[in-house]
């Protein structure tokens, strides 16, 4: 099961469950119970209650109030998770916007970022803040390097889109194998990162990880939006995205603009990686597969190329996942991808995407 995509696990210590292959077949171990391990219980009213009862140890089912509480808790969990999707989705969206490339290696950058945080903290013994900054810089550099080595010639020689896509998949596999070689293929635990107090609002318990995820993702989005809308390099990015030839006629070095876009996108993925490690403190070399795929779904859902769209898509996906996990955990991914399909049937350009025909 080496290639099984990493599931999201709560800090409380859920065992990874190989959901697709073990639908209610394997009883969860005693003492390791949690909402994700009782999907079958949710089918009957009693089971439903039992499922709720075990989902949060601080929570007791008390009628409507209790349901509201659960609803809010799962929504906040979902927003926390969605924030990570959103940060990764921004990179997909930006890169697609500027070079019309679906950079499937982008999901793996979050893996690279996670390992860098771990490496700098545990191997080099540096403090957390340096680990996070180091990881962001390393990923930004890695993003530029990948663009230069793998994509640049294909892009400047007008290679068919399919060649770019295959190259991106190749880079993804390369990164995963490289990190397996460097760090081993087994799951690794992360040290505690941000040790912040949780917030208690009446009966509502909000973990510090969720707050941090949401705050950081919103700040990043506002920063990015400002960068793109207001700054000189932002204008150059939008010009390059719309017509690279005309952008060159304006004196814009489009190679720099594209490299900068990869750097920013990868840096944001590294921020997502730090938040991910803080929320789900276990990492492995293939963790970028499902995470990257879902972030890509978020980008498409929100309208690829749109910054607020990527964020919105990330939040919707996170919340949908969080809610369904609570009731039908076996179907979580099916529902998440189902949302994408329905969404695209209704609005092919995504929620906030502009309906533009692709230049061929």
């Amino acid at each position: 099961m080496k290639s099984n995509p990493l599931e999201f696990r709560r800090k409380e210590g859920l065992k990874p469950s190989f959901r697709i292959f073990s639908y209610s077949g394997k009883r969860p171990k005693k003492g390791k119970s949690g909402k994700n391990n009782f999907p079958f219980l949710a089918r009957s009213p009693q089971g439903f209650a039992a499922g709720l009862g075990t989902s949060n140890h601080f929570f007791r089912l008390e009628g409507v109030c209790g349901f509201m509480n659960l609803f809010l808790t799962q929504t906040i969990n979902g927003l926390g998770l969605g924030s990570i999707y959103a940060l990764v989705a921004l990179g997909y969206s930006m890169v697609y916007g500027i070079v019309k490339l679906i950079n499937f290696a982008h999901g793996d950058i979050i893996m690279v970022g996670s390992y860098m945080v771990m490496f700098i903290m545990t191997v080099m013994g540096m403090p957390l803040i340096l680990a996070v900054i180091g990881s962001i810089l390393f990923c930004a550099l890695a993003g530029v390097l990948i663009q230069r080595v793998a994509y640049h010639r294909l892009l400047t020689h007008d290679a068919p889109r399919i060649s770019l896509l295959i190259t991106a998949l190749g880079v993804s596999i390369f990164l995963q194998n490289l990190f397996q070689l460097l760090f081993g293929s087994e799951v690794r635990s992360m040290p505690t990162l941000f040790d912040l107090p949780a917030i208690q609002l009446g009966e509502l318990h909000i973990t510090s990880a969720n707050i941090l995820n949401i705050v950081v993702s919103v700040v990043m989005m506002i920063g990015l939006q400002t960068l793109v809308a207001r700054t000189r390099i932002g204008k150059a990015m939008r010009a390059t995205s719309e017509d690279a030839g005309a952008a060159k006629l304006m004196g814009i070095n489009t190679n720099h603009t594209v490299a900068f876009t990869f750097a920013v996108g990868s840096g944001l993925a590294a921020v997502g990686a730090a938040l991910y490690c803080n929320t789900y403190p276990q990492i492995k070399p293939t963790m970028g597969n499902l995470l990257g795929l879902k972030a890509f779904v978020a980008a498409v859902l929100g309208g690829i190329g749109s910054i607020p769209g990527a964020m919105l898509g990330g939040y919707i996906l996170g919340v949908a996942e969080s809610w369904t996990k609570n009731f039908y955990s076996n179907l979580t991914d099916a529902i998440v991808f189902g949302i994408l399909i329905v969404m695209l049937l209704v609005k092919p350009s995504g929620l906030l995407g502009k309906n533009v025909k692709e230049k061929v």
């Binding site: 000189r232 204008k235 150059a236 939008r238 010009a239 719309e242 017509d243 030839g245 005309a246 952008a247 060159k248 006629l249 304006m250 004196g251 814009i252 070095n253 489009t254 502009k354």
Partner: protein
């Protein structure tokens, strides 16, 4: 010495030999026009000059610089701006942002006076400066493309069929603008299918036919030439 000198230029698209060894020059202060039918090679020539296309062979010299080995984004910095075929304004950006991008290479300068100058010359743009450029009419887009190119304060302007798709009235307006830009000291190389109009404002002209220069001379002389009248001026 001429401001722009093109010598033995050859451009290929794969096996298609689009420009077959043409040579021409543009002197400082002139308006020179390249006239020719569809597919004659006007755009290919301009793209080779502005670096969007690499010629197979030949030399292009602008103000003492070898353009063949200069990257496209550096050519504007030498003082050579282009108004491309089909305008290619940035449709999803505002009029103002398009003009700002025109002045991209002048990042550290104060541009207020330049904007005022552009708006004085192109008053239609002033009212629409907050509008998305894609919502402008064809004529306004052409004016924006010219204004955008002028924002870099070029020594020389390359224009590729600025009259394309415009009503006769607007064509007149655009050509008046080109003339006044030239009188302001900017050298002009003008690609046109509208030979009548182009020959009216140009000093000299080259007639391009399937990648070769078929004729050249003073614009007023070419306008009287029987062959040119037959082929390009409707008899």
């Amino acid at each position: 010495m001429a401001l722009l000198t093109v010598k033995d230029l050859n451009v290929f698209y794969g096996n298609i030999h689009a420009i077959k060894g043409i040579s021409f020059e543009v002197n400082e202060g002139e308006i020179v026009t390249l006239i020719g039918a569809n597919g004659a090679g006007k755009t290919s020539t301009l793209h080779a000059i502005s670096g969007l296309l690499r010629p197979k062979s030949g030399s292009i010299t602008f103000d003492g610089n070898n353009l063949v080995t200069t990257e496209a984004h550096k050519i504007l910095r030498l003082g050579l701006a282009q108004v491309p075929e089909g305008r290619r304004i940035f449709a999803s950006l505002t009029v103002m942002e398009n003009l700002e991008l025109g002045a991209y290479i002048r990042a550290k300068e104060n541009l207020d006076a330049d904007f005022e100058q552009i708006f004085a010359r192109l008053p239609r743009l002033k009212e629409r400066r907050k509008q998305l450029a894609g919502t402008l009419s064809g004529g306004e887009q052409q004016m924006l493309a010219i204004g955008r190119a002028l924002m870099s304060k070029p020594k020389m302007l390359l224009l590729d069929e600025p009259s394309m798709g415009l009503s006769p009235l607007l064509v007149g307006e655009i050509f008046d603008i080109i003339k006044s830009v030239n009188q302001g000291g900017v050298t002009v190389l003008l690609n046109e299918q509208n030979a009548k109009k182009a020959l009216e404002i140009a000093n000299r002209a080259y007639v391009l036919e399937t990648g070769s220069i078929a004729m050249s001379g003073e614009a007023s002389a070419l306008a009287q030439d029987e062959k040119v009248r037959q082929a390009y001026l409707g008899g």
